[in-house]
Structures are given as C-alpha cells and as structure tokens.
Symmetry: none
Subunit: 144 residues, 2 copies
DNA sequence: CCGGCATACGGTACTATTGGGGAACGAACG
DNA sequence: CGTTCGTTCCCCAATAGTACCGTATGCCGG
C-alpha cells in the first residue's frame, strides 16, 4: 500500500504528477479512479474511489433529515472531486482545493496506508512536528 | 454517483447547464428524467425521477394527519416539477423556484450522493461553514 | 560517462460552458 | 378564428478550461 513522501511540483495548469510507485497501485488495484477532498483545511486527501465509497457508505447511514447531518454532507461532498490519472500520470487539482490547501509551486505527496495526502511544501515543513515523547506515547499505546 | 461542486451561471432564459460529469450519470443511469423541488434551506434539489419516487415512498409512510407532515408535503409537492436535459445538457429552472432560491447569475451545483443541489453562489458562500474540527469530530465518530 | 527512468514544461487539439438568434408551441385576447 | 405575446426548445458560434503529445531536464545505477 501507500508509503513514503515525495516532493513534486504543481505546473502552470494546476496539475501534480503522482509518484510512479503510487501510480502503479492506483492503476493496478483501483482502475485509476480517484476522489480528492479537503482534510481539515490544511491538505488535500486523495482516496482511490473504492476506498472513498467505503466512507460514503458510512455517511449514508446517518440520519439524513437532521440539519447538522445535511450541513456536514454538503461540506464533505462539495469539496469532493472525482478524477483519473492523465496519460502522463498526473492529476488536475481543482482550483478550489488548490487554494484552500494553500498550494504553491512545490508540494509534498505523502502515502498513508490506503490514501495519499498532498501538502504545500512550506506548510508541510512548518507542520508542528510531534515531540519524541508524543510519538512514544502513541507507539506504546499500540503495544509497540 | 454524484459528488463535487461546480460554479455555473444562469443565462438570460433561466437555464443552468448541468456539469458534464453529472450529465453522464443522469442520461446513462436514469434516462434523463429529473424532478426539481424546493429544499427548506434556500436551495433547489434535483432528483433523478427514479430516486424521487423513492422519496415519495418514504413520504407516504409518514403520519399523514400530523400538521407538520401535511405542511411539509404541500411545500414539497407544490413546488415539484419534472424536467429533462435539453440537447445542450441544460435544465430550465421554473421562475417560481428560481425566485424562492434567490438565484442570481452565479450558482453552485453540488452533487450529494443520489441528488443535486443548486444554490445561489452568494447564499452558498455565506452558509455557515463548519470548522475542520467539527468535521473531524463527525468523521472520527464514524471511525474514519 | 552513459543509458534508462521519472518528472517538468510548452504547444496543440478537443470538450464543456456560455450566450444569442430564431423556430415551434400554447395561452390569452381581440 | 386569427393575432399577438410569452415561453421553451433547438441550433450555431465564441470562449475558456482540460487532456494529450512530444520533448527537455534531472537523477540514479551500472
């Protein structure tokens, strides 16, 4: 599955090329279909469609008439955007997402198990890095 | 299914062009037949006819005597209007709905699983947007 | 140092959206 | 009954956004 991080660039048309290691997984296991969404206003998450549909299933089980749920769904689905890899293995980032994630020329593409994250390079660097203690706490709570 | 949001415009004749991604689904899976109604949140909902019939089934199972239910049904059915895509892939919004949703030139077309919503651009923007934390809370309660 | 792979870039073709003109239809009116 | 007006649809053209292609550039291993 997806592991590791890569520094790539956004071209003048707003496209980011997917690292070739990830590309293989996406085309072989997932038929090349992807869904992009916002994650907490700071980075863009990229799910293979199949994985995203699992998220949708859970959302569908919520009470649809409830106001908070309707608002939640509007927010989540309005930022979602389907796309496929182009023949050069790139994806087009919708301007809306590009802007909200503050993407400049240089971005990080990070693989996290079943999804990818796309960060502005600067935001990624200045991301509050967890202290060794915090990481140790999580690891030990997992019994590692 | 339907996901993502697109900024489109209402032309001088009150038509809105349906995003091509949605158009494909509507013509391929649903024979192009649609039902438009008012939603209570100042937007217009667009159901494929087949999905709308499912909504009607649910409404029929509500307690018909209750005042709120009767009011609800009056609002929903009186504004409901069937339509199809024209040859350019647009839908004509009845003036009644256009006015009640406060549509100006610029609108958002949002895909939410099995239906679309059409919002005035300004109303959409000023809709109380949930913070990332709130969304995160809902997501984590879903185990995502 | 060279060959192979992967990413970056720029030009061109294509598709989608938008807008306006005119025909067809129906309702209202004289 | 015929005319007029308004509405809706179809068609064509202009624009802008997206996808594809070929090529340049940089990195790594041999």
């Amino acid at each position: 599955m997806f592991r590791g991080s890569f520094e790539h660039s956004v071209d003048s048309k707003g496209r980011v090329s997917v690292p070739s290691r990830f590309r293989e997984i996406i085309t072989d296991r997932y038929e090349g279909k992807l869904v992009l969404t916002m994650d907490f206003d700071r980075c863009i998450t990229v799910y293979p469609l199949e994985e995203w549909e699992r998220v949708e299933e859970k959302i569908k089980s919520l009470p649809q008439m409830q106001k908070e749920v309707k608002d939640f769904m509007r927010t989540v689905f309005s930022t979602a955007s389907e796309c496929e890899l182009d023949k050069q293995g790139r994806i087009l980032i919708p301007p809306q997402l590009r802007e909200r994630a503050g993407l400049n020329k240089s971005v990080m593409v990070v693989g996290i198990i079943h999804k990818l994250e796309i960060w502005d390079r600067h935001a990624w660097d200045s991301r509050s890095t967890q202290s060794g203690d915090e990481i140790g706490a999580v690891l030990s709570s997992l019994g590692l």
